[in-house]
Amino acid sequence: MQGVTKSYDGEPALADVSIAIARGEFAFLIGTNGAGKTTLLRILLREEPFDSGVVLVNGVDVSRIRGAALTKFRRRIGVVFQDTRLLPNATVRENVGLPLQVRGRANREIDVAVDDVLGRVALSDKGERFPRQLSGGEQRKVALARAVISKPDVLLCDEPTDSINPAHAREIIGLLLDINSEGVTTLVATHDSEIVNNLRRRVIRMDAGTILADEAVGVFNTS
């Protein structure tokens, strides 16, 4: 993305943001509350319009996507939303299978895929529960399972380890790295300093809607 500017009702949320993430890369997006991380991810999903600049995802110019192309575009992206956005009236299995359901996959195929990803997030025994019957961390795992079930090219995660205890958080990040090692470009917005410091990966640091630093091997410092 190049020179992207975005404001909400005159309040700037992103100011001249330029970043490039290569295919298959893994990067963290860090910054204080309100720095613009979520806004950036929402723009990448074309969930939110922006004011100026150019955004390319998978070689597609986001501002030019119209109609049916939007569906095609989003099917190549998996997302873990900061607020999880699970369907409240659907079971865990139904939620996780939704991306395949909307693609018109057969129920048998969906069942197999759901079993597989629920196993990966260690929630195999909670498949018939509803989201409100899960803990916050479990809901986040369900959101992650839903994001990866369709084997996207790009994975966008907004605070995937928020409200997950450190041991489980490490598990989740391990899972993200696994998925990344399968060739999925992965961008993770996080506040979790421990994870960022341990992994020694690329870190894009944001503040007040701008990129403060972009380090190939970054650490989390709060200064």
Binding site: T71, R85, L87, P99, V102, G104, A106, N107, S150
Partner: protein, 297 residues
């Protein structure tokens, strides 16, 4: 192809689930739709009857000028040619004495013997006019009455025709207004029911779009729900219509047998089919419209 079938199966399942979850509202919308459509059907039936009455009367002559037996045939021909040129005149027909007798005999079959015993044919020949525009009739009748050497008398069943034409115009306008109004009400009721369902599920819609659902995948269940409400409401209305017809039609026909009331079976069947189609279309359009604004995610 199988993907489309899977989506279709999902959409149908989701629609049935949605209807069941909101079953009270579904029932309310179905009943309202049925009542609207029965009223609509009643108006259509009344309208159709009035139109048929007017058409039936219009087929008869608007003016009959009885020709004197001693009138010169060439003079009569001349007048007829002149009449044909007049504005507002549709058709000019000459009915001979023989034709008149035959028509008389057909109409009064029972009294045939009475005529048979007559030596000569007592009926006059006549010139009959069918008008395109009944407004010019009075002047025309006066003019023909003035030709005392040619015509014995001139008869104009004017009042009846005029009154019926105006009744029919009023009823046609009122009927059209009612049809539009009732269809709008049915549309509104269904759209509103679906709008509430859509509103309750707006986050669901947004989420589905964000994980790659097409507009049709999201919209499909709601449209099926609306179509279902319309279809069931309309089917109820059609059943009510047929029952009412079976109960009421024989009585009406007996009471006013001289009127060509639209109570034959094909009319009722067509009306029932029409009502069901209206319900289906209204339901589909109603939901299509209500989902639209939530799809821009």
């Amino acid at each position: 192809m199988t993907a489309k079938l899977n989506v279709l199966r999902y959409v149908l399942g989701a629609a049935m689930l949605g209807l069941w979850r909101n079953r009270t509202m579904t029932l309310g919308a179905v009943v309202t739709t049925a009542v609207m459509l029965v009223t609509l059907a009643a108006f259509l039936a009344i309208n159709d009857t009035l139109n048929e009455m007017v058409t039936a009367l219009g087929r008869k002559s608007n003016l009959i000028a009885y020709v004197r037996d001693d009138a010169r045939p060439s003079r009569v021909t001349e007048i007829m040619q002149d009449l044909e040129q007049r504005p507002g005149v549709g058709e000019v027909v000459f009915v001979t004495k023989e034709d008149a007798l035959r028509i008389f005999q057909e109409r009064f079959f029972d009294q045939r013997d009475v005529i048979d015993i007559l030596q000569a044919n007592p009926l006059p020949a006549s010139v009959e006019l069918r008008m395109d525009d009944p407004a010019v009739l009075p002047a025309l009748a006066d003019e023909l009455r003035g030709m005392t050497g040619v015509f014995e008398s001139v008869a104009v069943p004017l009042d009846v025709v005029e009154r019926l034409v105006s009744i029919s115009n009023v009823s046609r306008a009122a009927g059209t207004a009612m049809i539009v109004a009732l269809t709008a009400v049915a549309l509104f009721v269904i759209a509103n029911t679906i709008r509430i369902a859509v509103y309750a599920r707006r986050q669901e819609i947004e989420i589905m779009k964000l994980v790659g659902a097409t507009d049709w995948f999201v919209r499909g269940p709601f449209i099926i729900e609306g179509a279902f409400i319309g279809l069931v409401g309309a089917t109820l209305a059609a059943v009510a219509l047929v029952v009412m017809y079976l109960q009421v039609a024989p009585t009406i026909t007996r009471l006013i047998s001289f009127l060509p009331i639209a109570t034959d079976v094909s009319f009722v069947r067509n009306l029932a089919v029409f009502i069901v189609l209206v319900g289906l279309v209204v339901g589909s359009i109603g939901s299509y419209v209500s989902v639209r604004r939530y799809l821009a995610v």
